[in-house]
Symmetry: C2
Amino acid sequence: MRLPNAITCLTGALAASLATSAAIAQPAATPPRTMDEIVAAAPASAWRTPDPNDVLVMTLDSGRVVIELAPGYAPEHVANLRTLAREGYFDGLTINRSQDNFVVQWGDADGEDPAKAKPLGSAKAALPAEFDTAIRDDLAFARLPDVDGWAPQVGFSGGFPVGRDPQAGRQWLTHCYATVGAGRGNAPDSSNGTELYVVTGQSPRQLDLNITTVGRVLEGMHLLSALPRSLAPGGFYTQPALRTPIRRVALASALPEAERPRLQVMDTGSASFEALVEARRNRADAWYLRKAGHIDLCSVPIPVRTTPAPTAPSGG
Amino acid sequence: MRLPNAITCLTGALAASLATSAAIAQPAATPPRTMDEIVAAAPASAWRTPDPNDVLVMTLDSGRVVIELAPGYAPEHVANLRTLAREGYFDGLTINRSQDNFVVQWGDADGEDPAKAKPLGSAKAALPAEFDTAIRDDLAFARLPDVDGWAPQVGFSGGFPVGRDPQAGRQWLTHCYATVGAGRGNAPDSSNGTELYVVTGQSPRQLDLNITTVGRVLEGMHLLSALPRSLAPGGFYTQPALRTPIRRVALASALPEAERPRLQVMDTGSASFEALVEARRNRADAWYLRKAGHIDLCSVPIPVRTTPAPTAPSGG
């Protein structure tokens, strides 16, 4: 291997090698650890299981994309997305856009043609803009001490990268790799969740506070990022045949137990996550000759793992 | 369109719509312009034609990848790459790795097996590390005023994003989307250019000053980014059949005139580029409700265009 690994999602590749129980958190005074070591040693309490009512499962022919929604930030959009998923709105629609170093977007390719647009069922056609929300006690904030040019403060809240303006009393989900947002037209309140995009390139933080962000992809980014990228304006596919069919988008809570994703996300308020951030700031890996002493918000991976199978109590 | 375009490479999509001559630079006092407007209005003097001796053309079955080398920063690696290309070293080798949100890497998949490794011909097997270089007069630096957490100063030099430490007197190519570097092992001087990687994810700036960066992809990023991403450790393909064949890597200067890329890069020292940076910092596009008042180094696109055909002088 001639370049270090940058493992940002542990599902699959690392899941098998992770300690599933009896892991003991190391005291802070031990020598620096790598991110992999921290993840492997994280206790069960450092892992959070997303509410299946906040999880969308998108089925493509190539595999599964799992999205965690953020009702704390965009309650109206999330409620609408639950309705859209429950009523099968996205089933049979397509991925319509992949713009290099920017986003992949899906929804109704004919959505802007009233004669052809798919009916919304009982979902709402119009929603308020939800670009940010009030700083609230239920949105715990683990601040990243590193400088950020886009927001007065940045950090993590409930598993999501966020920006924060204490003076204005506002907090918002930021645009990092895998962030999912609701496409809109020029009017701020012109999104309703029927068109979703996910960041596949350099963090487009200029979109922050300009659009409603609704969640984050936990699994399957590799499927979306590797879709053919269109050089047409906006990265839209010019031929319908180039669009990728969406077989189904379902809420995890509506799926039979056996079909639900069994994923856990590292608790961004945990000591393990705090150690991980420090491990990214100053890499302990043997490959690194120089430690950066800095990390950007969007360069901090938020680990995801397959929920460990329950184990019988042992003497270990 | 429900989300603004983020056009980072103008080859193809926009080339046809660009003014090819008689463009007049607008005075700074005019109303804010969008990036597209600035690019379209950039005078011929704002465009630089890379030296064909600094341009590698990699031919894949899917199309062409064009890389501009940076001899000012990594002279030994660039000299070796010229030799490797001239002697056909990369022809018939493969792309061996695509790690989600990190890099794509190519070279000799058997390079670490002495019995199978492809001979280097007259190229050097060992080179010095070229992680950075002295600040020099020939490496003009257009400083980005925005804060950066990774380097004391950042900006652009000769068409590349760079970091700079005036106290140490050093300057280096940074890791942004499309930056190309030379893979190495744990020893700092273990790269020789036979294994190259390109950034396809969130800017891994922690690699800065840890590895030799050799240039930047000017055209064809969409071909590399859309390769299947492997979930195996490091994103290496576990089956040889998954690797993408490289038909040829040639120096542009060694190609017949008709086969050479006809590309120009915006001069990062030009007034047009300065205006572009400002247009990215505060978007004039109608879609944006809030201007960020900030831009990150790796969020500034360095425009590339197809060299305009010579036009007959006109009265315009």
